[in-house]
């Protein structure tokens, strides 16, 4: 058993004829993830690197009814209509890779997904991977087999690059990952740390979780509540990046759109709250390894 991806996962790429869509197609196939087709409005009937292209999500689904995930690689201005189209066609999991999606469009899509009971990961997500099963997007890039291997550690990250870096720490410790999820770095995200933790709580493959979060927009309070309510009972090790940013003027955005100084909470405040709630907090990012060991040997 695994979270988000299974042997039955079948992925549609929206924006499959663009550069990023094609790159994702290659990456997913290379990791033995099924991508039967894609969609690009106005390009129905074309073929993208051997995959049939449809003009609409509905057309794609009527030819490939097994599709249960959409990976969205369209420009920011087209993201809202692409996501809504996938939701309206009944796709239950939409991983939005588009970066810089306007906030009002993101809010619109998240509300629409909530109403339908569908899940959005992102926007601004790089994707997710269940080692040995498949990946959505390009997580791991060409080094995927160096960094990822099936194992007991769940990985959650606010940053795409740090998803790899954290997973690599896990591998260097001689362990593997049950899943790695990049939730995205934007202010509004459809699947938060706590949402993934809930999935990992119910996932027998996950024995412990490591999490990279950042100063700024506050999604950590949800984790605190989840821990207090007993909604997550496995060991959890967390690092919050951006302690240095306390010295920057309020309103400065560092690295990710959601890492806004003075909005939400500082790295120190977040670490203190999580520690109080029972999470293991790593002062140094690299110490997450030792915390992993202390949890898995316990």
């Amino acid at each position: 058993m695994s979270i988000l991806l299974t042997e039955k996962t079948s992925v549609l790429i929206q924006g499959i004829t663009g550069k990023e869509g094609l790159r994702a197609l290659t990456a997913m196939r290379a990791y033995r993830t099924r991508v039967p087709c894609g969609v690009t409005p106005g390009k129905g009937g074309h073929v993208a690197d051997g995959a049939p292209v449809f003009g609409t999500v509905r057309d794609a689904l009527s030819s490939f009814p097994e599709i249960n995930v959409s990976a969205v690689y369209v420009p920011p201005s087209a993201a809202k209509s692409a996501v809504l189209e996938a939701l309206e066609a009944g796709v239950p999991l939409v991983n939005v890779m588009t970066e810089k999606m306007p906030l009002k469009d993101a809010a619109y899509c998240l509300a629409a997904a909530r109403e339908r009971g569908a899940r959005i990961i992102g926007p601004g997500s790089l994707g997710c991977i269940v080692p040995g099963i498949g990946r959505l997007g390009v997580v791991g890039g060409p080094l995927v087999d160096d960094i990822y291997a099936p194992g007991p550690i769940g990985v959650i990250s606010r940053s795409g690059g740090m998803t790899n870096e954290l997973s690599w720490l896990v591998r260097q410790a001689g362990l593997g990952q049950s899943a790695a999820v990049h939730v995205g770095g934007e202010l509004l995200i459809g699947t938060t740390y706590a949402d993934v933790l809930k999935e990992m709580e119910n996932d027998p493959a996950t024995k412990a979780v490591v999490l990279y979060a950042e100063q700024g927009v506050n999604y950590e309070t949800e984790i605190v509540s989840l821990l207090h309510d007993g909604g997550f009972t496995k060991p959890l090790a967390v690092h919050i990046g951006g302690a240095f940013a306390e010295t920057l003027p309020s309103g400065t955005v560092v690295g990710h759109a959601g890492a806004i100084v003075g909005k939400g909470r500082s790295a120190r405040e977040k670490m203190a709250a999580l520690q109080d709630a029972g999470a293991l907090v790593a002062e140094r990012f690299e110490n997450l390894v030792e915390l992993i060991h202390s949890t898995t040997h316990a």
Binding site: L143, E214, A243, A259
Partner: protein, 356 residues
């Protein structure tokens, strides 16, 4: 992206929200004419992006022209709380029967817009508990508002209309946050926005090139990071190691080498550097070779004598690192190159040793 008060107020006025009569000035010589045309007493406000502006003396009530002149010349000479002041907003003084608080913003917890309303405005309001919050459905804001008009009207008669305009401005201007604190309620019940704190959605308003950012800092170690998360973790590691960054710089995605060269040149040419850290995590899709070509070109031109530590991994990492090695050899540079076997923290520690 935060905008100054006067720009924020212009934006509110465009959507029919009343603001005080005001004139933007940038020098002492403009004061006399401005005070005359506004009449009465005035409030003079430094146009800086400072959260706690009033607490730092950036808002002053003046009863005479000489008061205004004294305040303005002090700001121009010394700034406010360390920030230089270039422009001031001179406004008519509005007599408020009471002050309210109104704000519209995107909220992480509810994953959508919220309208916040408080019966008491003014500073310190953020920590008070009497602020009511109302979720706004992005798909139909008008309907969300209809549902709360009754409640808003009980707080102040003109509040429903103000909130309607505020929410409209919020969506139409692609704002991330609009806060009006305080809103003055005058004796006749009309509402006036005395301040405007507006942040615009960077995704719409700041399409800055290719996803790179630069900020000058006061230290002596140049930094060039790849990836948002890696940049934070490395800046933190530098702080712990006692290294002071000369700048913050980050690029991500797949920038063309010309763009990386520009950024690298800016970062590496700052005078007085004692070292440079060029660090990134394990890239998913950034082409390490192409981006490093840009860095090598900058190094070829600058030939810096200070030590440089590089740590990077990802697509075409071998080619990228080989290219920098060749660049170091032909220019006689002091570069140490590391791959993913060396942690980012160890790269920072190595920098510290070399820069001593």
């Amino acid at each position: 992206m935060n905008v100054c008060e006067h720009e924020g107020k212009t934006l509110l006025a465009k959507h029919g929200i009343a603001i005080p009569a005001g004139i933007l000035i940038s020098g002492i010589e403009e004061i006399e004419a401005a005070t005359k045309s506004l009449g009465g007493c005035w409030v003079v406000k430094a146009q800086i992006l400072e959260g706690n502006r009033a607490a730092h003396g950036g808002v002053v009530f003046c009863e005479s022209v000489s008061d205004v002149e004294k305040t303005v010349s002090a700001w121009l000479a010394r700034g406010v709380n360390g920030q230089p002041v270039e422009r001031m907003l001179l406004e008519e003084h509005i007599v408020a029967a009471r002050e309210l608080y109104v704000s519209c913003l995107y909220d992480a917890a509810s994953r959508g817009p919220l309208l916040l309303v408080g019966r008491h405005g003014g500073s310190g309001v953020e920590t008070r508990e009497d602020i009511r919050s109302f979720p706004i459905d992005s798909r139909d804001p008008a309907r969300s508002l209809e549902g709360i008009f009754g409640e808003l009207g009980l707080i102040a008669k003109a509040l429903p209309e103000l909130c309607e305009k505020l929410v409209k401005a919020f969506f139409e201007e692609d704002a991330r946050q609009i806060e009006i604190n305080p809103v003055a309620e005058r004796a006749d019940g009309s509402l006036v926005a005395l301040d405007a704190k507006v942040a615009l959605d960077d995704a719409v308003h700041d399409r800055s090139a290719f996803g790179a950012s630069y900020r000058a800092l006061s230290g002596d170690i140049a930094t060039l990071f790849s990836g948002g998360g890696a940049s934070l973790v490395n800046m933190d590691a530098m702080q712990r190691a006692g290294l002071r960054a000369a700048n913050y710089a980050e690029y991500s995605g797949n920038p063309p080498k010309e763009k990386v060269r520009e950024l690298a040149t800016l970062v590496l040419s700052k005078p007085g550097l004692r070292g440079a850290l060029i660090v990134g995590g394990i890239a998913n899709f950034t082409d390490v070779k192409e981006t490093f070509e840009g860095i090598a070109e900058a190094l070829d031109a600058l030939k810096p004598s200070y030590p440089i530590v590089v740590r990077r991994a990802g697509p075409r990492e071998r080619e990228g690192l080989a290219l920098l090695r060749a660049c170091a050899e032909r220019n006689g540079l002091r570069i140490e190159l590391f791959g993913k076997e060396t942690s980012m923290d160890d790269a920072v520690t190595r920098m510290k040793t070399l820069a001593l």
